[in-house]
Symmetry: C2
Subunit: 470 residues, 2 copies
């Protein structure tokens, strides 16, 4: 009499949508905008063009319903576009996407865009319209999600010619929301996105028709991250098993060199020796015991090269400084110190921490006394659950600010950006990062390094003030 059932991934997130950040109409408005904008930014960077993103939120008049509010969200970008055969899955299937590879991107779960579409659909019963082109024909889909089967129901599909060779994606959906409750944070999210993506042009028209324009401060794009092979330290039995199942190599020495980064002939030989596996062994004939021996040896062997950070794309000190100065309106009367740490790893995943500390007259005028923290992960601004995350922990518990001449009434802005092939988010809503020990160490050290710059600045001003009194 116990009844069992399985549910689709879309059904799971339909039932538990608060776990994906759609907990109530105002928060859902924020998350929908976030997910769509991050998709556009990823697509533009992949296309290597300075992003042009246009976002419009329109309120839908509803004479009878004064409690609940409904909005039309429209977003357009000049990114890669989505090929015809992938459009239905990209926007109407959970756990489908192009970011499941070992390369830094804002997207990682294959879930966000579809969740925005899903939330719109279950609150309004309206389909989503996606118009996209990769340079050829323009595909115009109107679709809904068949939630129980985690796939698209295509209501309309028009194909148009593309004489101007437009490339990009436009998406329009309708959803229940609560704009006035979330307005401040939404604008703040856009502003902070501009701060760490100063090469992007963002145009936003709000429900009252007001135009917000975040103009690019530079045309210079950050380096394109490269997809890399896994590092031996990030390996577990399942990863190893999958590589073996797919490999075309004929012996274990070739296997190690082919499938992992930074493994040359000598390293492969020494590693296999430690693991107790013959270099001539055929990978596909490895026993389960050998598999486990190999994985354990990846942790014990200390001769592997440092992880390859070409899969990462830090903002860079120049762009970060440009972005912060532009969005915080810093002048010559302010001081800013930007720091980029060397690549590090946690659990085999490479990451880089960048930090900036700013102080001065403008900072005091706009932020008041005390420390204000801006948090970023893979160029995504984090605006919620501040005290739960690793950046707040590092700034508030690991640093003795008095030693940097920072008092409780000093006006200070700290910005921290963590980029990685895998951001240690604690939930699929991407609210905050877990305090992984290696990440916490690097964030702490980055802030300290930047704080030393601020201390020198304070000392210099103190000396100047003292000189001028004599």
């Amino acid at each position: 009499q116990t009844e069992y059932q399985s549910i689709s991934p879309a059904d799971f997130f339909y039932r538990n949508r608060e776990i994906a950040g759609f907990s109530n109409p105002s928060r859902a408005t924020y998350t929908a905008v976030r997910e769509l904008l991050e998709n556009s930014m990823d697509a533009c960077e992949a296309q290597r063009v300075p992003p042009e993103v246009y976002l419009r939120i329109t309120e839908i008049e509803d004479k009878r319903d004064t409690e609940t509010k409904f909005y039309k969200l429209r977003i357009e970008d000049n990114g890669t576009g989505v090929p015809e055969e992938h459009i239905p899955k990209a926007f109407a299937t959970v756990f489908y996407g192009s970011k499941y590879i070992l390369k830094q991107a804002r997207g990682t779960f294959g879930l966000g865009g579809t969740m925005a579409v899903l939330y719109g659909q279950i609150t309004t019963h309206k389909p989503v319209q996606v118009i996209s082109s990769t340079g050829g024909e323009i595909h115009d889909f109107t679709m809904m999600i068949d939630i129980q089967n985690n796939r698209a129901s295509i209501l309309k599909h028009n194909i148009r010619q593309n004489p101007s060779g437009w490339r990009g994606t436009a998406l329009e959906l309708q959803m229940e929301g609560d704009y006035s409750r979330i307005m401040y944070r939404l604008i703040e999210y856009l502003k902070q996105t501009a701060m760490v993506n100063p090469y992007a042009d963002l145009t936003y028209v709000d429900p009252r028709g007001r135009l917000y324009k975040f103009e690019r401060g530079t045309e210079k794009l950050p380096p394109l991250p490269q997809s890399v092979k896994p590092h031996p330290h990030g390996v577990d039995v399942e990863t190893f098993r999958r590589l073996i199942a797919e490999t075309k190599t004929r012996n274990m020495k070739q296997f190690m060199m082919e499938h992992f980064q930074g493994v040359g002939p000598t390293t492969a030989y020494k590693f296999l020796d430690l693991a107790g596996i013959s270099t001539k062994a055929k990978p596909k004939t490895l026993s389960p015991e050998d598999l486990v021996k190999a994985v354990r040896a990846t942790r014990e062997y200390t001769g592997f090269k440092r992880p390859d950070a070409s899969c990462l794309s830090p903002i860079g000190e120049e762009l970060l400084e440009t972005g912060i100065k532009k969005e915080l309106n810093l002048t010559e009367e302010d001081y800013i110190k930007v720091v980029t740490r060397k690549p590090s790893t946690y659990l085999g995943f490479p990451f880089i921490v960048e930090a900036a500390v700013a102080t001065g007259r403008t900072v005091r005028k706009t932020h008041g006394a005390g420390i204000t923290i801006y948090r970023f992960a893979n160029r995504i601004p984090l605006l919620f659950d501040e005290s739960s995350g690793v950046i707040w922990k590092a700034a508030n518990r690991n640093i003795n600010w008095k030693t940097y001449n920072v008092e409780s009434d000093t006006s200070l802005v700290i910005a921290v950006h963590v980029c990685s092939t895998k951001i240690p988010y604690k939930s699929v809503g991407k609210e905050y990062m877990a305090d992984q020990p290696a990440v916490e160490r690097e964030v702490t050290n980055a802030i300290r390094e930047a704080a030393r710059g601020v201390r020198r600045y304070f000392n210099r001003r103190f000396r100047i003030a003292r000189e001028s009194r004599r």
Copy 2:
């Protein structure tokens, strides 16, 4: 050149296992025990038997590997057992289970048991063994998870006779872990489980062979929750659409009465009138516009009965007091006040808050000065992320303790239990509950109600002390 792929639910949680609570070996040890024990408790309560659960963690000797530790986890219960045809899916498929219905249970996602099996497999490459019977034959499965396809690979399946009519489930898996780091919290989890489930016998043997026995304080089980129909307030377009797709009713009046709780003929008539839908309309011919009108009307119509709380199973004041006294060793020199609130709802989901406040000599001796908070959701102890959750927020920010004669050095224990058909967890790791406004209100009021009892106790003791001085 952009490559797209879909991944299975098991693959998603394999890649993002920290989101399910498997962030590192010590935390994984805790989460695995939690998920398995909660499955056993659910199964015993469903079978209406006082739970007998046996848990054993054994360290697996590994002469060469001194850094990483490996353990065998074994758990046995006298619950419902799992029918043969469902065993592979129950333990090796993500998003499969028996708790997707509108009824209170510890399990809710269809994911936890499979995650424990998955984590064990990817760290040891060892299969899981599940032995179970629903009273008939005993089925003994040895299996692994085919992660990329989210299904079981059955390595062995033996069927044995069951002359004694044993009923229950035994599961054994191997996993990497770190027992010493998590030991304190694991024992605390077991102790708090005993506190709110005082009808359960829990036996635990730790890696050093030590026996921990939590004996039942009563044979009396709490009321069995009943599966209920949805309340109209919990309805969105998708739920409505699914009910219509499956309905056998012939008109909308019948439809409303058949598929929702607490809707009689008069209520159906008035509701449909407000929605602007004819009582005679055939459900399957409703237009999309009518569907939306009906869903909006469910929010505006104020005449629905209060939600049916028979789907809930609060611990009850008697059992809660028994459990707390037993596990905290309270004596006649301690005071405890237990409170059960009336059922309430958030977003259409019914919930009940129960709270207890205790103080006295034993509390002071064991807990020291200050307030200690015990948190429970559907009888699951919550031991992590205390300051992120709604209970901590209510106790620390919404209550002025001085007005209850509680000073900063007063020794106080607060226990709060929230039970619901849908606990507002913020993540699939079930660490803490979101501060849904209705839930926050009820938790705050429950604590205040119990605190008033404590105030009377303090006043009484103060008067007695004053009398004895005269």
